[in-house]
């Protein structure tokens, strides 16, 4: 845990940089706002509708798949860490991971067969 102490220093420096950038923006940039400058930018055309409107859920499917695969991929890391050391005790870890990966591949195949991401 002591190893993370310099990360704290780095965080402070990064924060200082951010504050510096913010103050530079505040102090140096001129401001003379007029109504059309402050309106929504839609290529010079008058904005149509509100940006706060619901839209299609395609992105949700990508995020769900990412979540589930990220969780599965996160479990590869502890496995990869001890795999080489465990080889002396036989192929138990290899088989364990092949079974685990088998389910993962089944999930992928399901996604492709049902064309859930509309890739085709």
């Amino acid at each position: 845990m002591e190893a993370f102490l310099p990360v704290g220093f780095l965080f402070i420096f990064a924060l200082l940089l951010c504050i510096g950038l913010f103050t530079v923006k505040r102090l140096l940039g001129p401001r003379n706002p007029i109504a059309s400058k402050l309106s929504v930018y839609e290529c010079g055309v008058a904005p149509e509708g509100n940006a706060r409107a619901p839209f299609k859920t395609h992105f949700y499917l990508i995020a769900v798949l990412f979540l589930l695969f990220d969780v599965e991929a996160a479990f590869f890391f502890p496995w990869a860490l001890v795999y080489k050391e465990s080889l002396a005790q036989g192929p138990a870890l290899l088989i364990a991971m092949l079974v685990y990966m088998g389910f993962l591949v089944l999930g992928l195949v399901y996604i492709f067969r049902k064309d859930c991401l509309r890739l085709n």
Binding site: F4, P6, R26, R31, F76, K84
Partner: protein
């Protein structure tokens, strides 16, 4: 830990961090001149000799331009957005190794901000936080282009995070450690008498995956879908002013630099010169600190090479379409990542059996 140690560590952290920030002005001129070279035109050459002072002019211009924050935005998150991208990009620097040791007042300090035992997990975890700045910034702008750009950027980055993780996992498998420092240390000397003992010869497929995913993670062409200027104006930073744009820009270049440094540490031997071991070098040079300097120079040269590749690819390859991008990630890269893992595991198993 004594207070002198703390001061040395703080100064070391500041120097390494400032060094990484210097990437931004250097890349400003390199990218513009590189683009000009590839497109066979002179490029910026008026400010200073060969246009070398161009970055200074660019930065001054950015600072002196008018600050506009439109009326419809959600103020707090709108102002926070760029910094939420810059902070994670800065924090990743902590885990990157730039050299072995240097000695000061008869004590040795490593040329790395923090030697974390969870190094590569730390990099992936902090790297995944970068999307929040884009998401919240894009949402707070309250503009349709911004929101769609933010959604696209996030979908792209999270989709390519999985191949990145799988490629990194292959590297963990062959080094047996999470620590980037230990990974670099394992790459000393020669392999089979002729090749440098580098990770790329153990994980060629893993490197390819990592390389492609690195481009997507940094939103660089051919994967700059978030800001397709023909479709989405400027993507998630449509409503942002000059300095905020500069902050996003800075984060992008720092991400490029950290990705390059990661590739160097995992696949290209980090601070090691090819074929030569550190002990031989130390004998030749005679001084620990000279060796440290040489190691830092080696890392910088290797990182610069990858930065040049980033520029080269950007001005050479055209942009993907969104569905092509998704298909590449889910249909090609993720299965390839799994295959890479299985092959690596099988090779270790059979090598162990013989």
């Amino acid at each position: 830990m004594e207070w002198t140690d703390l001061i040395v560590i703080a100064v070391k952290t500041a120097i390494i961090y400032l060094g990484m920030v210097q990437v931004v002005p250097i890349m400003l001129i390199v990218e513009r001149r590189g683009a000009a070279f590839i497109q066979d035109r002179p490029g910026p050459n008026r400010v200073g000799p060969f246009g070398l002072f161009q970055p200074i002019a660019d930065v001054i211009k950015m600072m002196m331009k008018e600050v506009i924050s439109p009326r419809q935005v959600n103020k707090a998150l709108y102002l926070l957005g760029p910094f939420l991208v810059l902070l994670p990009a800065s924090l990743i620097v902590a885990a990157l190794p730039f050299g072995d040791f240097f000695t000061l007042f008869d004590k040795s300090y490593m040329i790395q901000i923090a030697n974390l035992d969870v190094g590569i997990l730390y990099v992936l975890a902090i790297g995944s936080l970068g999307i929040y700045g884009i998401l919240f910034g894009g949402w707070a702008s309250n503009n349709k282009f911004s929101l769609i750009g933010a959604m696209r950027a996030t979908s792209q980055i999270i989709s390519y995070e999985i191949p990145l993780g799988l490629a990194a996992c292959g590297a963990v498998l062959s080094y047996g450690s999470f620590s980037l420092r230990e990974m670099v240390m394992a790459q000393e000397g020669t392999l089979l008498g002729a090749l440098p003992h580098w990770g790329i010869f153990y994980q060629p497929l893993g490197f390819l995956l990592f390389f492609i995913a690195a481009f997507a993670e940094t939103n660089r062409l051919p994967f700059d879908l978030p800001e397709t200027e023909a479709e989405l104006v400027a993507g998630f930073h449509t409503e942002y002013g000059p300095m905020d744009f500069g902050t996003f820009f800075m984060a992008e270049y720092m991400n490029m630099a950290t990705m390059s440094a990661l590739m160097v540490s995992i696949y290209f031997g980090g601070w090691h010169l090819p074929w030569i071991s550190d002990a031989t070098l130390l004998e030749g040079l005679g001084s620990r600190n000279l060796l440290a300097l040489l190691q830092v120079l080696t890392v910088i040269v290797k990182i610069s090479f990858f930065m040049l590749v980033f520029v080269w690819v950007r001005w050479t390859i055209p942009r993907f379409r969104f569905d092509q991008l998704m298909r590449l990630a889910w249909k090609n890269l993720i299965p390839l990542g799994l295959i890479n893992l299985v092959i690596t595991a099988l090779i270790f198993y059979f090598k162990g059996a013989i």
